[in-house]
Amino acid sequence: MTLLAVEDLTVDLPAADRAVRLVDGATFRLRAGESLGVVGESGSGKTMTALALMGLQPPLARVGGSIRFEGRELVGLDEDAMRRIRGDRIAMIFQEPMTALNPLVRVGAQVAEPLVLHRGMSRRAAGAEAARLLAHVRLADPERAARAYPFELSGGERQRAMIAMAIGCSPRLVIADEPTTALDVTVQARILALLDGLRAESGMALILVSHDLAVVAGHCDRVAVMYGGLILESGPTDVVLRRSRNPYTRALLEARPEPGAPRGARLKTIPGSPPHHRDVGPGCPFAGRCALTLDVCRSARPPAIAFAAGHVSRCFRAAELEDAA
Protein backbone atom coordinates (compact mmCIF):
# COMPACT_ATOMS: atom_id res chain seq x y z
CA MET A 1 0.00 0.00 0.00
CA THR A 2 1.38 3.39 -0.87
CA LEU A 3 1.88 5.42 2.28
CA LEU A 4 3.45 8.49 0.74
CA ALA A 5 3.36 9.69 -2.85
CA VAL A 6 5.37 12.78 -3.65
CA GLU A 7 4.71 14.16 -7.09
CA ASP A 8 6.73 16.99 -8.67
CA LEU A 9 7.47 18.66 -5.33
CA THR A 10 8.97 22.14 -5.58
CA VAL A 11 10.17 24.52 -2.88
CA ASP A 12 10.85 28.13 -3.85
CA LEU A 13 12.40 30.74 -1.64
CA PRO A 14 11.97 34.38 -2.62
CA ALA A 15 15.35 36.12 -2.78
CA ALA A 16 16.31 39.72 -3.46
CA ASP A 17 15.97 39.58 -7.24
CA ARG A 18 14.14 36.36 -8.06
CA ALA A 19 12.77 33.24 -6.41
CA VAL A 20 15.37 30.54 -5.82
CA ARG A 21 14.25 26.95 -6.41
CA LEU A 22 15.61 24.80 -3.60
CA VAL A 23 13.78 21.61 -4.55
CA ASP A 24 12.85 21.02 -8.17
CA GLY A 25 10.32 18.38 -9.14
CA ALA A 26 11.06 15.76 -6.51
CA THR A 27 9.01 12.63 -7.17
CA PHE A 28 9.06 9.44 -5.12
CA ARG A 29 6.80 6.91 -3.41
CA LEU A 30 7.07 5.07 -0.17
CA ARG A 31 5.11 1.99 0.93
CA ALA A 32 4.30 1.23 4.54
CA GLY A 33 7.32 -0.22 6.29
CA GLU A 34 9.65 0.73 3.46
CA SER A 35 12.81 2.79 3.88
CA LEU A 36 14.04 5.43 1.50
CA GLY A 37 17.49 6.98 1.63
CA VAL A 38 17.84 10.55 0.39
CA VAL A 39 21.48 11.25 -0.34
CA GLY A 40 23.03 14.57 -1.25
CA GLU A 41 25.83 17.01 -0.56
CA SER A 42 25.39 20.40 1.07
CA GLY A 43 22.91 22.51 -0.86
CA SER A 44 21.40 19.53 -2.68
CA GLY A 45 17.94 20.25 -1.25
CA LYS A 46 17.69 17.02 0.75
CA THR A 47 16.92 18.70 4.07
CA MET A 48 14.48 21.11 2.44
CA THR A 49 12.65 18.15 0.92
CA ALA A 50 12.38 16.54 4.36
CA LEU A 51 11.14 19.78 5.95
CA ALA A 52 8.58 20.29 3.18
CA LEU A 53 7.11 16.86 3.91
CA MET A 54 6.56 18.04 7.50
CA GLY A 55 5.21 21.41 6.37
CA LEU A 56 8.14 22.99 8.22
CA GLN A 57 9.75 24.82 5.32
CA PRO A 58 10.97 28.37 6.13
CA PRO A 59 8.09 30.84 6.58
CA LEU A 60 8.56 32.59 3.23
CA ALA A 61 9.14 29.45 1.16
CA ARG A 62 6.46 28.32 -1.31
CA VAL A 63 5.77 24.63 -1.74
CA GLY A 64 4.29 23.32 -4.99
CA GLY A 65 3.39 19.94 -6.42
CA SER A 66 1.74 17.21 -4.42
CA ILE A 67 2.45 15.28 -1.24
CA ARG A 68 -0.14 12.57 -0.65
CA PHE A 69 0.19 10.90 2.72
CA GLU A 70 -2.24 8.14 3.66
CA GLY A 71 -4.36 9.31 0.77
CA ARG A 72 -4.50 12.88 2.00
CA GLU A 73 -3.00 15.88 0.20
CA LEU A 74 -0.56 17.72 2.48
CA VAL A 75 0.40 20.58 0.15
CA GLY A 76 -1.90 23.45 0.97
CA LEU A 77 -3.32 21.71 4.04
CA ASP A 78 -4.16 24.27 6.69
CA GLU A 79 -1.69 24.69 9.54
CA ASP A 80 -4.01 23.27 12.18
CA ALA A 81 -4.61 20.01 10.36
CA MET A 82 -0.90 19.75 9.51
CA ARG A 83 -0.07 20.26 13.16
CA ARG A 84 -2.21 17.26 14.10
CA ILE A 85 -0.27 15.08 11.65
CA ARG A 86 3.14 16.27 12.80
CA GLY A 87 4.55 14.30 15.67
CA ASP A 88 1.62 11.89 15.45
CA ARG A 89 1.46 10.35 11.97
CA ILE A 90 4.79 11.74 10.69
CA ALA A 91 7.67 12.28 13.11
CA MET A 92 11.10 13.71 12.56
CA ILE A 93 14.58 13.14 14.00
CA PHE A 94 17.24 15.81 13.60
CA GLN A 95 20.97 15.84 13.10
CA GLU A 96 22.33 17.44 16.23
CA PRO A 97 20.69 15.86 19.28
CA MET A 98 22.39 18.39 21.57
CA THR A 99 20.69 21.40 20.08
CA ALA A 100 17.52 19.66 18.96
CA LEU A 101 16.48 19.10 22.57
CA ASN A 102 15.43 22.04 24.73
CA PRO A 103 18.29 22.50 27.21
CA LEU A 104 16.00 23.68 30.00
CA VAL A 105 13.49 20.81 30.01
CA ARG A 106 14.03 17.34 31.44
CA VAL A 107 14.35 14.65 28.79
CA GLY A 108 11.35 12.72 30.09
CA ALA A 109 9.08 15.75 29.79
CA GLN A 110 10.24 16.37 26.23
CA VAL A 111 9.59 12.78 25.24
CA ALA A 112 6.17 13.02 26.91
CA GLU A 113 5.15 16.21 25.09
CA PRO A 114 3.80 14.62 21.86
CA LEU A 115 1.77 12.16 23.96
CA VAL A 116 0.12 15.02 25.85
CA LEU A 117 -0.42 16.86 22.61
CA HIS A 118 -1.77 14.10 20.39
CA ARG A 119 -3.00 11.40 22.77
CA GLY A 120 -4.55 13.73 25.32
CA MET A 121 -2.64 12.01 28.11
CA SER A 122 -2.17 13.65 31.46
CA ARG A 123 1.37 14.83 32.14
CA ARG A 124 1.77 12.09 34.72
CA ALA A 125 0.60 9.27 32.45
CA ALA A 126 2.69 10.64 29.60
CA GLY A 127 5.70 10.75 31.90
CA ALA A 128 5.31 7.07 32.75
CA GLU A 129 4.92 6.26 29.07
CA ALA A 130 8.04 8.32 28.30
CA ALA A 131 10.09 6.20 30.67
CA ARG A 132 8.77 3.10 28.88
CA LEU A 133 9.71 4.60 25.51
CA LEU A 134 13.20 5.44 26.73
CA ALA A 135 13.61 1.83 27.77
CA HIS A 136 12.28 0.75 24.38
CA VAL A 137 15.08 2.62 22.58
CA ARG A 138 17.46 0.70 24.86
CA LEU A 139 18.70 3.56 26.95
CA ALA A 140 20.76 1.96 29.66
CA ASP A 141 18.99 3.56 32.61
CA PRO A 142 15.64 4.94 31.41
CA GLU A 143 14.60 6.31 34.80
CA ARG A 144 17.80 8.33 35.08
CA ALA A 145 17.54 9.48 31.47
CA ALA A 146 13.98 10.69 32.00
CA ARG A 147 15.03 12.82 34.94
CA ALA A 148 18.19 14.09 33.26
CA TYR A 149 18.61 17.33 31.35
CA PRO A 150 19.91 16.97 27.78
CA PHE A 151 23.41 18.18 28.67
CA GLU A 152 23.75 15.35 31.16
CA LEU A 153 23.46 12.67 28.46
CA SER A 154 26.00 11.55 25.87
CA GLY A 155 25.43 12.21 22.18
CA GLY A 156 24.24 8.68 21.53
CA GLU A 157 21.90 8.75 24.52
CA ARG A 158 20.43 12.05 23.36
CA GLN A 159 19.79 10.68 19.90
CA ARG A 160 18.04 7.66 21.46
CA ALA A 161 15.90 10.09 23.43
CA MET A 162 15.07 11.94 20.18
CA ILE A 163 14.03 8.63 18.65
CA ALA A 164 11.90 7.79 21.69
CA MET A 165 10.19 11.17 21.25
CA ALA A 166 9.61 10.47 17.57
CA ILE A 167 8.08 7.01 17.98
CA GLY A 168 5.89 7.91 20.98
CA CYS A 169 2.67 8.22 18.98
CA SER A 170 3.50 5.26 16.69
CA PRO A 171 3.94 7.36 13.55
CA ARG A 172 3.56 5.70 10.15
CA LEU A 173 6.49 7.65 8.77
CA VAL A 174 9.69 8.78 10.47
CA ILE A 175 11.95 11.26 8.73
CA ALA A 176 15.51 11.17 10.02
CA ASP A 177 17.64 14.10 8.84
CA GLU A 178 21.31 13.12 9.17
CA PRO A 179 20.53 11.39 12.47
CA THR A 180 24.06 10.07 12.99
CA THR A 181 26.29 12.69 11.39
CA ALA A 182 27.23 14.18 14.77
CA LEU A 183 27.97 10.78 16.30
CA ASP A 184 30.92 8.40 16.38
CA VAL A 185 30.80 5.53 13.87
CA THR A 186 30.30 2.90 16.55
CA VAL A 187 27.39 4.87 18.00
CA GLN A 188 26.12 5.50 14.47
CA ALA A 189 26.00 1.76 13.80
CA ARG A 190 23.96 1.18 16.95
CA ILE A 191 21.53 4.01 16.25
CA LEU A 192 20.96 2.81 12.69
CA ALA A 193 20.45 -0.74 13.94
CA LEU A 194 17.94 0.58 16.44
CA LEU A 195 16.03 2.35 13.66
CA ASP A 196 16.08 -0.87 11.60
CA GLY A 197 14.69 -2.81 14.55
CA LEU A 198 11.94 -0.31 15.28
CA ARG A 199 10.94 -0.29 11.64
CA ALA A 200 10.74 -4.08 11.54
CA GLU A 201 8.59 -4.35 14.66
CA SER A 202 6.21 -1.45 14.06
CA GLY A 203 5.94 -1.36 10.27
CA MET A 204 6.66 2.34 10.12
CA ALA A 205 8.27 3.76 7.02
CA LEU A 206 11.58 5.60 7.21
CA ILE A 207 13.13 8.38 5.19
CA LEU A 208 16.81 8.54 6.00
CA VAL A 209 18.50 11.73 4.83
CA SER A 210 22.28 11.56 4.67
CA HIS A 211 25.32 12.94 2.91
CA ASP A 212 26.88 9.48 2.99
CA LEU A 213 25.85 6.99 0.34
CA ALA A 214 27.36 4.15 2.36
CA VAL A 215 25.20 4.90 5.41
CA VAL A 216 22.09 4.78 3.29
CA ALA A 217 23.22 1.72 1.35
CA GLY A 218 23.14 -0.54 4.37
CA HIS A 219 19.78 0.54 5.72
CA CYS A 220 17.43 1.54 2.92
CA ASP A 221 15.33 -0.37 0.41
CA ARG A 222 15.40 2.49 -2.05
CA VAL A 223 17.62 5.54 -2.55
CA ALA A 224 17.17 8.94 -4.12
CA VAL A 225 20.33 10.86 -5.04
CA MET A 226 19.86 14.63 -4.96
CA TYR A 227 22.06 17.33 -6.45
CA GLY A 228 21.36 21.04 -6.88
CA GLY A 229 17.70 20.61 -5.88
CA LEU A 230 17.02 17.74 -8.30
CA ILE A 231 16.63 14.04 -7.65
CA LEU A 232 19.12 12.91 -10.29
CA GLU A 233 18.58 9.23 -9.74
CA SER A 234 16.33 7.01 -7.68
CA GLY A 235 15.49 3.34 -7.44
CA PRO A 236 16.09 0.17 -5.45
CA THR A 237 19.35 0.54 -3.52
CA ASP A 238 21.04 -2.42 -5.21
CA VAL A 239 20.19 -1.21 -8.67
CA VAL A 240 21.36 2.34 -8.07
CA LEU A 241 24.62 1.23 -6.47
CA ARG A 242 25.47 -1.47 -9.00
CA ARG A 243 23.82 -0.33 -12.21
CA SER A 244 23.69 3.41 -11.85
CA ARG A 245 22.45 5.26 -14.88
CA ASN A 246 23.57 8.67 -13.73
CA PRO A 247 27.04 10.20 -14.07
CA TYR A 248 26.77 11.99 -10.71
CA THR A 249 25.94 8.86 -8.77
CA ARG A 250 28.73 7.04 -10.56
CA ALA A 251 31.21 9.79 -9.80
CA LEU A 252 30.19 9.77 -6.14
CA LEU A 253 30.67 6.02 -5.91
CA GLU A 254 34.12 6.24 -7.43
CA ALA A 255 35.29 9.30 -5.50
CA ARG A 256 34.87 7.61 -2.17
CA PRO A 257 37.91 5.93 -0.61
CA GLU A 258 36.94 2.41 0.41
CA PRO A 259 38.69 0.67 3.27
CA GLY A 260 40.52 -2.23 1.70
CA ALA A 261 41.34 -0.42 -1.53
CA PRO A 262 45.08 -0.09 -2.21
CA ARG A 263 46.68 2.79 -0.36
CA GLY A 264 47.55 5.89 -2.29
CA ALA A 265 45.56 4.81 -5.35
CA ARG A 266 44.27 7.85 -7.17
CA LEU A 267 40.63 8.54 -6.50
CA LYS A 268 38.43 9.62 -9.37
CA THR A 269 37.76 13.24 -8.65
CA ILE A 270 34.87 15.44 -9.61
CA PRO A 271 36.21 18.84 -10.63
CA GLY A 272 34.80 21.96 -8.98
CA SER A 273 32.47 22.02 -6.04
CA PRO A 274 28.70 21.65 -5.52
CA PRO A 275 26.78 24.68 -6.82
CA HIS A 276 25.15 27.15 -4.50
CA HIS A 277 21.41 26.98 -5.15
CA ARG A 278 21.53 30.55 -6.45
CA ASP A 279 23.87 29.51 -9.23
CA VAL A 280 21.82 26.64 -10.64
CA GLY A 281 21.03 27.58 -14.22
CA PRO A 282 18.37 26.31 -16.56
CA GLY A 283 20.21 23.08 -17.39
CA CYS A 284 21.33 20.08 -15.40
CA PRO A 285 22.88 21.28 -12.13
CA PHE A 286 25.75 18.82 -12.58
CA ALA A 287 26.53 19.95 -16.12
CA GLY A 288 29.51 22.10 -15.11
CA ARG A 289 31.30 19.22 -13.41
CA CYS A 290 30.20 16.24 -15.50
CA ALA A 291 32.57 14.48 -17.87
CA LEU A 292 29.71 13.58 -20.23
CA THR A 293 28.20 17.03 -20.64
CA LEU A 294 26.44 17.80 -23.93
CA ASP A 295 25.26 21.19 -25.09
CA VAL A 296 21.71 20.31 -24.19
CA CYS A 297 22.76 19.61 -20.59
CA ARG A 298 23.46 23.30 -20.10
CA SER A 299 20.21 24.56 -21.55
CA ALA A 300 17.46 22.19 -20.37
CA ARG A 301 16.56 20.24 -17.29
CA PRO A 302 17.23 16.56 -17.99
CA PRO A 303 14.00 14.53 -18.16
CA ALA A 304 13.26 11.69 -15.76
CA ILE A 305 13.84 8.48 -17.69
CA ALA A 306 12.38 5.30 -16.21
CA PHE A 307 14.10 1.93 -16.36
CA ALA A 308 13.14 -1.46 -14.97
CA ALA A 309 12.21 -1.97 -11.31
CA GLY A 310 11.28 1.64 -10.62
CA HIS A 311 14.78 2.87 -11.47
CA VAL A 312 14.63 6.49 -12.65
CA SER A 313 17.50 8.67 -13.83
CA ARG A 314 17.43 12.33 -14.77
CA CYS A 315 20.11 12.45 -17.44
CA PHE A 316 20.08 13.06 -21.14
CA ARG A 317 22.56 10.23 -21.56
CA ALA A 318 21.03 7.79 -19.08
CA ALA A 319 20.30 5.25 -21.80
CA GLU A 320 23.94 5.23 -22.93
CA LEU A 321 25.13 4.43 -19.43
CA GLU A 322 24.77 0.68 -19.70
CA ASP A 323 25.61 -1.66 -16.91
CA ALA A 324 29.18 -0.49 -17.03
CA ALA A 325 29.95 -0.99 -13.36
Binding site: V185, A217, P257, P259, A261, L267, P271, S273
Partner: protein, 321 residues
Protein backbone atom coordinates in the same frame (compact mmCIF):
# COMPACT_ATOMS: atom_id res chain seq x y z
CA UNK B 1 67.57 2.07 11.28
CA UNK B 2 70.03 4.35 13.00
CA UNK B 3 68.58 7.73 12.17
CA UNK B 4 66.13 9.23 14.65
CA UNK B 5 62.50 8.99 13.60
CA UNK B 6 60.92 12.13 12.14
CA UNK B 7 58.56 12.40 15.08
CA UNK B 8 58.91 10.49 18.28
CA UNK B 9 56.12 10.63 20.84
CA UNK B 10 57.29 8.97 24.02
CA UNK B 11 55.00 8.05 26.91
CA UNK B 12 52.97 11.23 26.78
CA UNK B 13 50.46 11.88 29.55
CA UNK B 14 48.00 14.74 29.69
CA UNK B 15 45.04 15.38 31.95
CA UNK B 16 42.69 18.33 31.92
CA UNK B 17 41.60 19.93 35.14
CA UNK B 18 37.90 19.66 35.84
CA UNK B 19 35.96 22.25 37.81
CA UNK B 20 35.90 21.60 41.54
CA UNK B 21 33.06 19.27 42.52
CA UNK B 22 32.48 21.29 45.70
CA UNK B 23 33.85 24.62 46.84
CA UNK B 24 37.35 24.15 48.23
CA UNK B 25 37.45 20.49 47.17
CA UNK B 26 40.38 19.28 45.12
CA UNK B 27 40.07 19.54 41.36
CA UNK B 28 39.19 16.36 39.52
CA UNK B 29 41.26 15.46 36.50
CA UNK B 30 40.05 14.05 33.22
CA UNK B 31 42.81 12.09 31.57
CA UNK B 32 43.07 12.88 27.87
CA UNK B 33 46.22 10.92 27.12
CA UNK B 34 47.73 8.24 29.30
CA UNK B 35 51.04 6.89 28.18
CA UNK B 36 50.89 7.34 24.42
CA UNK B 37 54.01 6.31 22.48
CA UNK B 38 54.65 6.00 18.78
CA UNK B 39 57.18 7.01 16.18
CA UNK B 40 56.60 8.46 12.73
CA UNK B 41 59.25 7.47 10.21
CA UNK B 42 60.06 9.99 7.47
CA UNK B 43 58.26 9.10 4.27
CA UNK B 44 55.74 6.85 5.97
CA UNK B 45 52.58 8.69 6.87
CA UNK B 46 51.06 7.75 10.17
CA UNK B 47 47.36 7.63 10.97
CA UNK B 48 45.56 7.97 14.28
CA UNK B 49 41.92 6.86 14.44
CA UNK B 50 39.53 6.97 17.34
CA UNK B 51 36.17 8.29 18.40
CA UNK B 52 35.48 11.71 19.90
CA UNK B 53 37.00 11.96 23.35
CA UNK B 54 39.70 9.43 22.56
CA UNK B 55 42.34 12.12 22.93
CA UNK B 56 43.38 12.30 19.31
CA UNK B 57 43.03 16.07 19.00
CA UNK B 58 44.93 16.58 22.27
CA UNK B 59 47.63 14.43 20.75
CA UNK B 60 47.77 16.70 17.69
CA UNK B 61 48.16 19.79 19.86
CA UNK B 62 50.93 18.23 21.92
CA UNK B 63 52.75 16.88 18.88
CA UNK B 64 52.80 20.47 17.58
CA UNK B 65 53.95 21.83 20.94
CA UNK B 66 50.81 23.96 21.20
CA UNK B 67 50.12 22.34 24.54
CA UNK B 68 52.51 20.92 27.12
CA UNK B 69 52.11 17.31 28.24
CA UNK B 70 52.10 16.52 31.96
CA UNK B 71 54.77 13.91 31.34
CA UNK B 72 56.58 12.40 28.42
CA UNK B 73 58.52 13.78 25.48
CA UNK B 74 57.97 14.73 21.87
CA UNK B 75 61.04 14.72 19.64
CA UNK B 76 61.28 16.07 16.13
CA UNK B 77 64.27 14.44 14.44
CA UNK B 78 65.71 13.71 17.85
CA UNK B 79 65.28 17.23 19.30
CA UNK B 80 62.98 17.31 22.29
CA UNK B 81 60.45 20.08 21.61
CA UNK B 82 59.69 20.88 25.22
CA UNK B 83 63.33 21.37 26.12
CA UNK B 84 63.86 23.99 23.42
CA UNK B 85 63.92 27.71 24.08
CA UNK B 86 61.30 29.94 22.44
CA UNK B 87 63.57 30.91 19.59
CA UNK B 88 64.67 27.36 18.84
CA UNK B 89 61.12 26.09 19.05
CA UNK B 90 60.05 28.75 16.58
CA UNK B 91 62.77 27.62 14.21
CA UNK B 92 61.62 24.01 14.57
CA UNK B 93 58.09 25.01 13.62
CA UNK B 94 59.28 25.52 10.06
CA UNK B 95 59.65 21.75 9.89
CA UNK B 96 56.18 20.88 11.12
CA UNK B 97 52.93 22.49 10.14
CA UNK B 98 49.27 21.80 10.69
CA UNK B 99 46.05 21.48 8.68
CA UNK B 100 42.78 21.88 10.52
CA UNK B 101 39.34 20.43 10.09
CA UNK B 102 37.23 23.48 9.52
CA UNK B 103 38.08 25.20 6.25
CA UNK B 104 35.96 28.16 7.32
CA UNK B 105 37.40 28.69 10.79
CA UNK B 106 41.04 28.10 10.01
CA UNK B 107 41.50 31.11 7.71
CA UNK B 108 41.33 34.61 9.19
CA UNK B 109 38.40 36.26 7.37
CA UNK B 110 40.11 39.67 7.49
CA UNK B 111 43.33 38.65 5.78
CA UNK B 112 44.05 38.27 2.10
CA UNK B 113 45.05 34.81 0.96
CA UNK B 114 48.61 35.96 0.32
CA UNK B 115 49.11 37.02 3.94
CA UNK B 116 47.44 33.86 5.22
CA UNK B 117 49.67 31.57 3.21
CA UNK B 118 52.77 33.59 4.03
CA UNK B 119 52.10 33.62 7.78
CA UNK B 120 54.51 30.76 8.62
CA UNK B 121 57.19 32.67 6.68
CA UNK B 122 56.43 35.83 8.64
CA UNK B 123 56.86 33.86 11.84
CA UNK B 124 60.27 32.67 10.70
CA UNK B 125 61.34 36.06 9.40
CA UNK B 126 64.19 36.79 7.03
CA UNK B 127 62.24 36.37 3.82
CA UNK B 128 62.09 39.28 1.40
CA UNK B 129 58.83 40.61 0.06
CA UNK B 130 59.54 39.52 -3.46
CA UNK B 131 60.56 36.04 -2.45
CA UNK B 132 57.51 35.72 -0.24
CA UNK B 133 55.27 36.72 -3.11
CA UNK B 134 56.95 34.26 -5.44
CA UNK B 135 56.70 31.41 -2.96
CA UNK B 136 53.03 32.09 -2.29
CA UNK B 137 52.34 32.07 -6.01
CA UNK B 138 54.24 28.82 -6.45
CA UNK B 139 52.43 27.25 -3.52
CA UNK B 140 49.04 28.29 -4.84
CA UNK B 141 49.82 26.56 -8.10
CA UNK B 142 51.06 23.49 -6.28
CA UNK B 143 47.66 23.06 -4.64
CA UNK B 144 45.75 23.74 -7.84
CA UNK B 145 44.76 27.36 -7.34
CA UNK B 146 45.67 30.37 -9.46
CA UNK B 147 48.42 32.78 -8.37
CA UNK B 148 45.90 35.57 -8.89
CA UNK B 149 43.83 34.16 -6.02
CA UNK B 150 46.41 35.57 -3.59
CA UNK B 151 44.70 38.97 -3.52
CA UNK B 152 41.26 37.62 -2.58
CA UNK B 153 39.71 37.06 0.83
CA UNK B 154 38.82 33.60 2.16
CA UNK B 155 35.06 34.10 1.90
CA UNK B 156 35.39 34.29 -1.88
CA UNK B 157 36.33 30.60 -2.02
CA UNK B 158 34.40 27.35 -1.67
CA UNK B 159 35.06 24.89 1.16
CA UNK B 160 37.32 22.71 -0.96
CA UNK B 161 39.31 25.69 -2.20
CA UNK B 162 39.71 26.97 1.33
CA UNK B 163 41.12 23.65 2.42
CA UNK B 164 43.61 23.95 -0.45
CA UNK B 165 44.61 27.37 0.86
CA UNK B 166 45.12 25.85 4.31
CA UNK B 167 47.27 23.15 2.76
CA UNK B 168 49.28 25.77 0.87
CA UNK B 169 49.90 27.60 4.15
CA UNK B 170 51.08 24.41 5.80
CA UNK B 171 53.52 23.72 2.96
CA UNK B 172 55.06 27.17 2.45
CA UNK B 173 58.00 26.46 4.79
CA UNK B 174 58.56 23.10 3.05
CA UNK B 175 57.99 21.15 6.27
CA UNK B 176 58.90 17.51 6.61
CA UNK B 177 55.93 16.76 8.84
CA UNK B 178 52.37 17.96 8.43
CA UNK B 179 49.89 17.20 11.17
CA UNK B 180 46.40 17.02 9.70
CA UNK B 181 43.48 16.92 12.14
CA UNK B 182 40.37 15.69 10.29
CA UNK B 183 41.46 17.46 7.09
CA UNK B 184 38.58 16.27 4.90
CA UNK B 185 35.70 15.52 7.24
CA UNK B 186 34.11 18.95 6.73
CA UNK B 187 34.24 18.64 2.95
CA UNK B 188 31.50 17.44 0.65
CA UNK B 189 32.02 13.92 -0.67
CA UNK B 190 32.58 15.12 -4.21
CA UNK B 191 35.32 17.47 -3.01
CA UNK B 192 36.96 15.09 -0.52
CA UNK B 193 38.59 13.08 -3.28
CA UNK B 194 40.34 16.20 -4.62
CA UNK B 195 41.86 16.91 -1.23
CA UNK B 196 42.91 13.28 -0.69
CA UNK B 197 44.55 13.14 -4.11
CA UNK B 198 46.36 16.38 -3.35
CA UNK B 199 47.69 14.88 -0.12
CA UNK B 200 48.83 11.76 -1.96
CA UNK B 201 50.65 13.92 -4.52
CA UNK B 202 52.37 15.90 -1.80
CA UNK B 203 53.63 12.74 -0.13
CA UNK B 204 55.05 11.52 -3.41
CA UNK B 205 56.34 14.75 -4.95
CA UNK B 206 57.11 17.08 -2.06
CA UNK B 207 58.36 14.48 0.39
CA UNK B 208 55.77 15.41 3.00
CA UNK B 209 55.02 12.96 5.77
CA UNK B 210 51.56 13.24 7.32
CA UNK B 211 50.45 12.57 10.84
CA UNK B 212 46.80 12.16 9.92
CA UNK B 213 44.17 12.23 12.61
CA UNK B 214 40.68 11.13 11.66
CA UNK B 215 37.63 9.24 12.76
CA UNK B 216 37.23 7.83 9.25
CA UNK B 217 38.98 4.52 8.66
CA UNK B 218 38.69 4.86 4.92
CA UNK B 219 40.52 8.19 4.87
CA UNK B 220 43.31 6.94 7.11
CA UNK B 221 43.65 3.73 5.13
CA UNK B 222 43.92 5.72 1.94
CA UNK B 223 46.84 7.87 3.09
CA UNK B 224 48.71 6.14 5.88
CA UNK B 225 51.11 3.25 5.89
CA UNK B 226 50.93 2.79 9.64
CA UNK B 227 47.99 3.42 11.93
CA UNK B 228 47.33 3.63 15.65
CA UNK B 229 43.84 3.12 17.09
CA UNK B 230 43.10 5.18 20.17
CA UNK B 231 40.48 4.63 22.84
CA UNK B 232 40.05 6.79 25.95
CA UNK B 233 43.52 8.31 25.80
CA UNK B 234 45.40 5.11 25.06
CA UNK B 235 46.66 3.40 21.95
CA UNK B 236 44.91 0.03 21.95
CA UNK B 237 46.36 -1.24 18.70
CA UNK B 238 48.94 -0.10 16.15
CA UNK B 239 50.53 -1.54 13.07
CA UNK B 240 50.57 -1.59 9.26
CA UNK B 241 47.27 -0.10 8.17
CA UNK B 242 46.18 -2.78 5.73
CA UNK B 243 46.81 -5.66 8.14
CA UNK B 244 45.27 -3.74 11.05
CA UNK B 245 41.95 -3.29 9.32
CA UNK B 246 41.93 -6.64 7.51
CA UNK B 247 42.41 -8.64 10.69
CA UNK B 248 41.93 -6.52 13.79
CA UNK B 249 43.53 -7.91 16.92
CA UNK B 250 41.83 -5.60 19.40
CA UNK B 251 38.05 -5.93 19.89
CA UNK B 252 37.69 -2.16 19.65
CA UNK B 253 39.43 -2.07 16.28
CA UNK B 254 37.06 -4.82 15.21
CA UNK B 255 34.07 -2.77 16.40
CA UNK B 256 35.33 0.26 14.46
CA UNK B 257 35.88 -1.73 11.29
CA UNK B 258 32.48 -3.38 11.54
CA UNK B 259 30.73 -0.11 12.25
CA UNK B 260 32.25 1.75 9.31
CA UNK B 261 29.60 2.04 6.61
CA UNK B 262 30.64 0.44 3.36
CA UNK B 263 29.09 0.21 -0.03
CA UNK B 264 30.18 -3.33 -0.73
CA UNK B 265 28.47 -5.13 2.11
CA UNK B 266 25.68 -4.75 4.61
CA UNK B 267 26.81 -3.45 7.99
CA UNK B 268 27.41 -5.88 10.79
CA UNK B 269 25.09 -4.58 13.44
CA UNK B 270 26.90 -4.12 16.68
CA UNK B 271 25.24 -5.73 19.65
CA UNK B 272 23.01 -3.08 21.10
CA UNK B 273 23.91 -2.16 24.64
CA UNK B 274 21.21 -3.88 26.61
CA UNK B 275 22.79 -3.66 30.04
CA UNK B 276 24.32 -0.46 31.37
CA UNK B 277 28.08 -0.50 30.96
CA UNK B 278 29.68 -1.77 34.12
CA UNK B 279 31.31 1.07 35.98
CA UNK B 280 34.99 0.97 35.21
CA UNK B 281 37.03 0.13 38.26
CA UNK B 282 39.68 2.52 37.00
CA UNK B 283 42.25 -0.26 37.06
CA UNK B 284 41.07 -2.45 34.25
CA UNK B 285 41.08 -2.15 30.48
CA UNK B 286 39.21 1.03 29.51
CA UNK B 287 37.36 -0.88 26.81
CA UNK B 288 36.29 -3.73 29.08
CA UNK B 289 32.84 -2.27 29.93
CA UNK B 290 31.94 -2.26 26.22
CA UNK B 291 33.89 -5.30 25.13
CA UNK B 292 31.91 -8.35 23.99
CA UNK B 293 34.89 -10.57 24.85
CA UNK B 294 35.57 -9.12 28.28
CA UNK B 295 36.55 -11.62 30.97
CA UNK B 296 37.07 -11.01 34.68
CA UNK B 297 40.76 -10.25 34.27
CA UNK B 298 39.96 -7.34 31.91
CA UNK B 299 38.16 -5.47 34.67
CA UNK B 300 41.01 -6.01 37.13
CA UNK B 301 44.12 -5.23 35.23
CA UNK B 302 44.90 -2.98 32.27
CA UNK B 303 46.79 -4.70 29.46
CA UNK B 304 49.90 -2.95 28.18
CA UNK B 305 50.63 -2.29 24.52
CA UNK B 306 52.84 -5.23 23.55
CA UNK B 307 54.48 -6.47 20.38
CA UNK B 308 52.37 -8.93 18.45
CA UNK B 309 54.64 -9.66 15.49
CA UNK B 310 54.72 -8.22 11.96
CA UNK B 311 55.18 -4.73 13.34
CA UNK B 312 51.90 -4.86 15.21
CA UNK B 313 51.29 -3.86 18.79
CA UNK B 314 48.10 -4.55 20.71
CA UNK B 315 46.88 -3.82 24.22
CA UNK B 316 44.55 -6.73 24.98
CA UNK B 317 44.75 -9.78 27.22
CA UNK B 318 42.84 -11.87 24.71
CA UNK B 319 43.62 -10.52 21.23
CA UNK B 320 41.46 -11.74 18.37
CA UNK B 321 43.07 -14.42 16.23
Amino acid sequence: MSAAPLLDVADVHKAYRLPRPRPFAAHGFKPALSGVSFAVIAGRSFGVVGESGSGKSTLARIALALDRPDAGAVRLEGRSLFDLGRRDLRAQRAHMQMIFQDPFGSLDPRMRVERIIAEPLAAQGGVSRAERRARVAAQLQAVGLRPGDAQNYPHEFSGGQRQRIAIARALITRPKLVIADEPVSALDVSVQAQALNLMTDLMRDAGVTFLLISHDLAVVAHICETTAVMFRGKIVEAGPTAALFASPAHPYTRELVDATPRLDRAPKAAAPLSAPPAPASGRGCPYAPRCPQARPRCGEDAPALTEAGEGRRVACWFPLG
